[in-house]
């Protein structure tokens, strides 16, 4: 029979003033299984713990109940006291007689005492059904997978690799760099984006702990924290990177011209191309959608000019498998297509461009020699109208949220315009100027003064064409007048949106995403880089719009999380998880449906001992289960049991009052 020891705490006056502690001890002693009961002033103090340790040995106790403060406070402390005395720490139960009794029934000592006695009785009843539990230790594969090679992915990969943990960096496009590689100078300091990004990209390429897999996508992830296996699809590049020297002869000679996505389609690239001069890896790929050799079997010029024979038209896509322990998702963002703004004539008027197009134009390595030009006639614009919140904060046409970065980059654009075209004038239609950040408001103020840009507070309602000018009409709500600006060029600060395949990616990884398609963090304030699935972390705009400083900060936080996870050779895990008794399992798979973590899989077991016929049963992966108990409650066969919260334990509590 169970031998329970009960220790009731005074907590100085905290408990003793409102609960008759000796009376509780007396009541407790009436319970058959209780072989030892005592009160003490401060149970959590070292002498208090010593009391427990001694009693365990002296009275050969089989479980311990401490009646004191909330288990959320000192459960760990007392568990440790149990293990110090050689007892399994999970044989402890805590009765919360402080938060749940002495502190909340200060006017009725009798009732508080009765309640405290009941709470102890319940804890005793539960502890009788307690079992020895053992921390689960899961082996860890110390290799991280980073998905997406924008600044977020680059930073996370470098930080993890610097801790000498191998990283696999998978990038969808032919080069890493992401959107940052397309930017000119960056707010709030106006450093040149390429100048600060390129060294990091080169570091990625040369880092001994980073394996860069470009032009690839992760297509499958199985396993659980510490023990994932990823399948990566590498697209056919038709260029053998091992032999290619990156000389560029091929793309110089290729006759097929294609709109250049790096320059937002403003100029052309070839069918075989490296996306931009600083690309990493700096090797070309053939765009199968345009290469006439691949499409029609005609051409082959690149293969002829390549001195090292690196071109391989027969190349096939490849599947690469890697075992990893943690994942950082850094798939970045897209920009919203402003087509729904029909009142602005988007799509009809050539001289309306997006901010990223503007960014490419003013970039030194851009398609227009670093100058903004009117797409319609190639002229340098004088009056440029910038319109903010395009698609953002507009639930009618776009999305509800604020894109966070466009106020700042539009400010930057007025400066860049001012630098590049001296006699130009910027007009900015805005609703608010959101410049919360270190040095941001100062940046905005300086820009407003230096450029003398005209700020008009209102949303533009219409753009129409008059001769070769665009007339931009909006209200300046500060003077309550409708204004029309005669513009040469209009720049739309389009909303940041999540990559459109994020939901699919999230489903593949088993993590969640919000109604817009951003990947969801575990807690918006306190766990902003973790996902609800252990071992998967988020960095950069894939979680929400953010600028480069925030992106980098989050990426480094991910790296810290990954390093923390990999700190030991195995991972310790709470043993309060569920297990299936396959004898009882009917294979209904109700549990599979409700598990929020996908921890439950099915397997085939023989019908009976030695039987050849098989039946399906559920199996819970102990590495994945978080111990919520959903499955237990839905299992009609009562085949599942959640350690620490078994039916037996809970029913004991209920009936013991």
């Amino acid at each position: 029979m169970a031998r329970v020891g009960v220790f009731v705490c005074f907590c100085g006056a905290n408990i003793a003033d409102y609960v008759d502690v000796p009376m509780v001890v007396e009541e407790t002693k009436k319970i058959r299984e209780v072989k030892f009961a005592i009160e003490y002033k401060y149970m959590c103090s070292d002498p208090g713990q010593q009391l427990i340790r001694e009693a365990i040995v002296q009275h050969r106790l089989t479980s311990i109940v401490v009646a004191a403060c909330s288990p959320r406070m000192h459960e760990k402390t007392f568990r440790k006291a149990l293990s110090d005395a050689g007892m399994n720490p999970y044989l402890l139960e805590v009765a919360n007689i402080r938060e749940h009794s002495s502190w909340v029934h200060q006017k009725d000592k009798k009732a508080a005492t009765e309640k405290a006695a009941d709470l102890v009785r319940m804890a005793v009843a539960k502890s009788i059904a307690n079992e020895q539990l053992f921390e689960i230790s899961v082996p860890v594969t110390k290799r991280a997978l980073v998905i997406g090679g924008g600044i977020a992915g680059i930073q996370a990969a470098l930080d993890i690799a610097d801790a000498r943990i191998p990283v696999v960096l998978v990038e969808k496009s032919p080069s890493i760099g992401g959107k940052m590689a397309q930017l000119d100078e960056t707010f709030p300091t106006l450093d040149c984006s390429q100048c600060i990004l390129t060294p990091k990209m080169v570091d990625v390429a040369s880092h001994p702990y980073i394996e860069l897999i470009p032009y690839s996508e992760v297509i499958e992830l199985e396993g659980f924290v510490g023990n994932y296996k990823a399948r990566i699809k590498k697209k056919a590049s038709y260029v053998n990177f091992a032999t290619c020297t990156g000389c560029g002869a091929c793309w110089q000679k290729c006759p097929v011209k294609v709109p250049n996505e790096y320059n937002m389609g403003i100029d052309k690239r070839k069918a075989i191309y490296t996306p931009f001069p600083q690309a990493v890896p700096n090797k070309p790929v053939i765009d199968a959608a345009y290469c006439t050799m691949l499409l029609k079997g005609k051409c082959g010029i690149c293969a002829k000019v390549c001195q090292v024979g690196a071109i391989d038209f027969k190349m096939q896509e490849e599947i690469i498998e890697r075992e990893i322990g943690a994942v950082v998702v850094a798939t970045g963002y897209d920009l919203w297509d402003p087509k729904p703004y029909e009142e602005y004539g988007v799509g009809r008027f050539k001289d309306i461009i997006t901010s990223l197009e503007f960014e490419r134009m003013v970039s030194a390595n851009g398609p227009t020699n670093g100058l903004p030009v009117r797409p319609s006639d190639g002229k340098i614009p004088k009056n440029v109208v910038f319109i903010k919140c395009i698609g953002s904060r507009d639930e009618a046409k776009g999305i509800e949220y604020c894109s966070k970065i466009c106020c700042m980059y539009t400010t930057k654009h007025t400066i860049l315009l001012h630098h590049k075209v001296h006699d130009s004038h910027a007009y900015v239609f805005y609703m608010d100027i959101r410049a919360a950040g270190k040095g941001y408001e100062e940046f905005v103020k300086k820009a407003q003064v230096d450029t003398a840009a005209t700020y008009l507070r209102g949303r533009v309602s219409k753009i129409y064409k008059k001769e070769d000018k665009l007339i931009v009409r909006g209200e300046d709500s500060q003077i309550g007048q409708v204004v029309e600006v005669v513009a040469d060029l209009v720049v739309l600060a389009t909303a940041v949106i999540p990559p459109k395949d994020n939901p699919e990616l999230a489903r593949m990884l088993g993590i969640s995403y919000d109604k817009y398609g951003y990947l969801s963090e575990a807690h918006p304030k306190l766990r902003p880089v973790e996902t609800a699935k252990a071992g998967i972390f988020l960095a950069g705009c894939t979680q929400a719009p953010k600028d480069i400083p925030d992106t980098v900060a989050q990426a480094s936080a991910c790296a810290a999380k990954v390093c923390g996870l990999f700190a030991g050779d195995t991972m310790k895990k709470d043993p309060m998880i569920s297990t299936v008794n396959t004898e009882f399992c009917s294979g209904c798979q109700n549990c599979v449906q409700v598990c929020p973590y996908g921890a439950i899989v099915t397997e085939e077991v023989p019908m009976g001992h030695g039987s050849k016929e098989m039946r399906t049963v559920a199996r819970i992966n102990e590495g994945v289960c978080q111990g919520c108990g959903s499955c237990v409650a839905v299992c009609r066969s009562m085949a599942i049991s959640l350690a620490g919260f078994t039916d037996h334990q809970i029913i004991n509590e209920i009936v013991s009052i």
């Binding site: 909330s70 959320r72 938060e99």
Partner: protein, 161 residues
């Protein structure tokens, strides 16, 4: 026992069994660890007072709550049960409390179908920060149950403690 079942929400409890003069109801509160249990701790640390009738059982998540627990509680020791968990969307286990909520509604219907007054089992959302709300919920539930009087229906009076 005389039973009049007009519709499924009509209680067949017998009000004529009068409560003993100093009768106090026993209420079992099943709280999820992450929100409501933490909230109830906060009620304590804030010293907010509430009626002493509730006996709290901690579970990881309201989704762990088997309808059987509720039935067992009403059959044995309790005059009423409160199940409380995280607000929708805030579940520590992502979706746990959605399942719990659905299951709870069905259970409640079932229990009132077999004759329990629907106020005997109640559900609430209390977050870890809502100490005052927890006190309010407990006060309301206690009040409701007091009005209903002791529960005799289906009680195993000969239960050994």
């Amino acid at each position: 026992m005389e039973t009049i079942v007009k519709d499924q929400h009509v209680s067949i409890e017998k009000p004529e069994i009068a409560a003993p003069p100093d009768w106090e109801p026993v209420i079992i509160g099943i709280l999820c660890n992450w929100c409501s249990y933490a909230g109830s701790d906060l009620t304590g640390t804030s010293r907010i007072q509430y009626p002493p009738n509730i006996r709290i059982i901690r579970v990881p998540c309201t989704s762990r709550v088997d309808p059987w627990f509720l039935i067992k509680a009403l059959q044995t020791t309790a005059d009423g049960v409160l199940v409380s968990g995280c607000h929708p969307g805030d579940c520590h286990y992502i979706t746990g409390n959605y399942y719990a909520r659905r299951r709870f509604l069905v259970t409640k219907k079932l229990l009132s179908f077999i004759g329990f007054h629907e106020n005997r089992i109640q559900f609430s959302w209390v977050s870890a920060a809502e100490g005052p709300k927890f006190a309010k919920v407990v006060a309301k539930v206690t009040d409701d149950i007091k009005k209903l009087g002791p529960l005799h229906l289906y009680k195993k009076e000969n239960f050994e403690k």
